[in-house]
């Protein structure tokens, strides 16, 4: 009798445990983006300014970065764009303390694509020995164009969401391009050097997401499991399941999308 009761209690405990860790109305979303064409080395950048510093770095055009080993595409952006404002998982609250950092380093922006939840600040800093400026041409937020002396940092906050990724540039070194994605929620994913992208702790339910890459614009047509899928305007309705990871597997983006 006693053993049975203990067992029942133990089971109950397990049930409570698992529900608190997973099934609370949140799920994850995963993609892997790969390039559907022959790999070709990206063009080199002709360094016309501060050649003494920037000229030695072997700078390349990073508007499309494909990993030669596994054809993974970096810097594909997936963001939540549903009409219903997103419910925000508590795990994101801590992130508001720390700023997003975009560094001017080695005569390029690092990272090239930065995700900015409007609750977070963004720091633009310069780790180079040469001076930079950072011109951010937001649409809904006031624009900025500060000088960033060697070693300097400026801190910026954005109160309004931007509909499209915003271009950032440096007028002193015109090859320098980067992007910030300013949204009212933290559900912004950027693919890594292997093309992997994961957005964690999304609210469960069916929502619209948008998929974008700087050279292609909206990603409109892809191959998934060998068949062609159309994502009109780069928009996809995705069902996020409670306590689960919705995995899109490998998504192949054809070379023609980047023409």
């Amino acid at each position: 009798m006693k053993t049975i009761r203990t067992l029942a209690l133990a089971l109950l405990a397990v049930a409570i445990l698992s529900s608190s860790s997973m099934a609370q109305g949140w799920g994850n979303l995963k993609f892997k983006f790969t390039y559907g064409g022959e790999y070709t080395a990206p063009p080199k950048i002709a360094v016309t300014r501060d050649a003494a510093v920037c000229g030695k770095l072997g700078l390349i055009d990073e508007s499309l970065v494909v990993n030669p080993e596994n054809k993974g595409i970096s810097n594909v952006i997936v963001f939540y764009r549903d009409r219903t404002p997103a419910k925000i998982h508590p795990s994101y609250n801590d992130s508001t303390e720390a700023p997003v950092v975009v560094d001017n380093i080695k005569c390029r922006f690092e990272p090239r694509v930065a995700a900015v939840w409007t609750k977070r600040k963004i720091d633009f800093k310069n780790s180079d020995p040469v001076g930079h400026n950072v011109k951010v041409d937001t649409f809904f937020n006031p624009v900025i164009n500060p000088i960033l002396p060697a070693g300097a940092k400026i801190s910026q906050s954005y109160s309004m969401e931007e509909r499209l990724p915003t271009k950032i540039s440096c007028s002193i070194h015109p090859w320098m391009t980067g992007w910030i994605v300013v949204r009212n929620d933290p559900y912004i994913g950027v693919s890594d050097k292997d093309g992997n992208l994961e957005i964690k702790n999304l609210p469960a339910g069916e929502f619209e997401f948008q998929i974008w890459q700087e050279k292609a614009g909206y990603i409109q047509q892809v191959t998934q499991d060998g068949s062609t899928v159309e994502w009109a305007r780069g928009r996809v309705k995705i069902k996020i399941e409670d306590g689960k990871t919705t995995d899109f597997g490998t998504i192949v983006i054809g070379a023609d999308q980047f023409k």
Partner: protein, 453 residues
């Protein structure tokens, strides 16, 4: 939007349509012969259609999604509901304007030029001030595309982006809206070295009315841009939107939805209005402390000269080794960049070689020029040896340009200089016209980065 299909919607047609009365202006009713109408911002519609899709404007091809004529007309109707017409301006309510602009002043600044001494009974001012004094350069719509615009260099300001160059409101590194005092300074002094004349001849109340009107045109232009964005988003919703088969912003003909739709429009308009109207957020004049004693001493000039070449200020990289403005000659301003692509390198290019940052000459003439886009030109950093300061020649003006930057152009602001350093740069810049050209200063080498090549 079809590129060939020039969409100009007469204000009269719309106000009549809004009232639900279908009277064709072609019947020759009074007022209909007046050609004054705000032009639709076709070039921006094109930019949105192309840039949302691909980074590069696909020249001859049509973009994936185009706004339909019905949607464009709806944007114009909404805009007219909010702002009225060139002859009969209006101001949107419930969006935080709070008396920032005076409708009465707008009405005297607006309207056709009158020569009959037509005066407003309260203000005693003649109407039609804007069209008399400003429109031949800045255009009736404020698009910077009046009849004389294309012959001027720089081009007259297109107010519709809401960006302005010369103001004392930029302090903390974020560009702010100009204050009314900034506009008055521009009207009093003009912009020396450009076609923008001084309007000292106008009375204070006349300038006040015109200033309200310029702000009104800027707000209207910014609102139009925001509405076009919203219309584009709506146009792209997959499938039908319940009860809105035409995917328009405001369903004027449907009592069931119209008030909800108008409420939704307010959310689009408010972010445009607040930075102008909200005293705490943009329209506050910065106070610059007086220059410290000795700011223009020889030592200070020498300090400024060094800074000019250092990473902390980096002036030489654009203004050149000798300040002639030849350090970076292939940049574009924001008004031009809008029509170019998004690719790295499109921010620079030469407008002189028949190919304008990826836009061929023929494309400009056949398409962009038809939409009222002035021919792309490079923006040149100022030749600092001429001693011509467009934003004003008081030391404080130069101080503001160096620390605040010049909005809409590559000239950056600098919040990292100490006050003393910034003043030393002012001193150096102002000494440049007098520096003997026989001993042109060349760059000292700092950290091996003092030269361009």
């Amino acid at each position: 939007m079809k590129l060939q299909n020039k969409t100009t919607i007469s204000g009269h047609q719309l106000s009549l349509a809004l009232a639900g009365v279908l009277v064709a202006c072609s019947l020759g009713l009074t007022g209909c012969s007046d050609p004054a109408a705000f032009q639709v911002n076709e070039a921006y519609i094109r930019a949105v259609e192309f840039k949302s899709d691909v980074t590069k404007p696909l020249m001859a091809e049509t973009p994936e999604t185009e706004l339909s004529d019905v949607q464009i007309k709806n944007v114009s109707e909404v805009l007219e509901g909010l702002y009225g017409t060139p002859d009969n301006p209006n101001l949107p309510g419930g969006v935080g304007l709070n008396g920032f602009l005076s409708l009465r002043k707008l009405k005297v600044a607006a309207g056709p030029v009158t020569y009959s001494g037509d005066k407003d009974s309260l203000t005693g001012l003649e109407s039609g001030l804007y069209r008399r004094h400003c429109a031949h350069c800045h255009g009736v719509t404020g698009d910077g595309h009046g009849p004389t615009a294309q012959f001027l260099n720089p081009y007259p300001r297109d107010y519709r982006m809401g960006q302005f160059k010369f103001k004392l409101t930029d302090a903390d590194g974020t560009f702010k809206k100009p204050s009314k005092a900034d506009f008055d300074h521009i009207l009093m002094e003009g912009i020396p070295g450009t076609a923008m004349p001084s309007f000292r001849v106008l009375s204070g109340p006349e300038r006040e009315a015109i200033i309200d009107y310029v702000i009104y045109l800027a707000m209207r232009g910014q609102t139009e841009r925001a509405l076009i964005q919203a219309a584009y988003d709506t146009a792209n919703v997959n499938g039908e939107i319940d009860g809105n088969s035409e995917k328009i912003l405001v369903r004027f003909n449907d009592d069931q939805y119209v008030s909800d739709d108008i409420e939704a429009i307010k959310e689009i308009v408010q972010p445009v209005i607040l930075p102008w109207a909200n005293g705490g957020n943009g329209t506050v004049q910065r106070t610059i402390e007086d220059a410290p004693a000795g700011w223009d001493s020889d030592e200070s000039v020498e300090q400024g000269r060094k800074l000019f070449f250092q990473s902390k200020a980096n002036c030489f990289s654009c203004h050149g080794q000798t300040g002639l403005g030849d350090g970076q000659t292939n940049l574009f301003d924001n008004w031009t960049l809008e029509h170019l692509g998004n690719e790295p390198g499109d921010a620079v290019g030469s407008a002189d070689d028949g190919e304008i940052a990826g836009i061929p000459e023929y494309f400009y003439h056949n398409e962009l020029a038809q939409m009222g886009v002035v021919k792309p030109r490079n923006i040149r950093p100022r030749n600092l040896r001429l001693g011509n300061y467009r934003g004003g020649r008081r030391p404080i003006d130069i101080y503001q340009r160096i620390t605040g930057g010049i909005e809409g152009t590559p000239m950056p602001g600098n919040t990292k200089l100490t006050q003393q350093e910034a003043w030393s740069l002012v001193a150096y810049v102002m000494s440049l016209p007098y520096e003997a050209t026989s001993r042109p200063k060349t760059a000292p080498s700092f950290q091996g980065v003092g030269t361009n090549k």
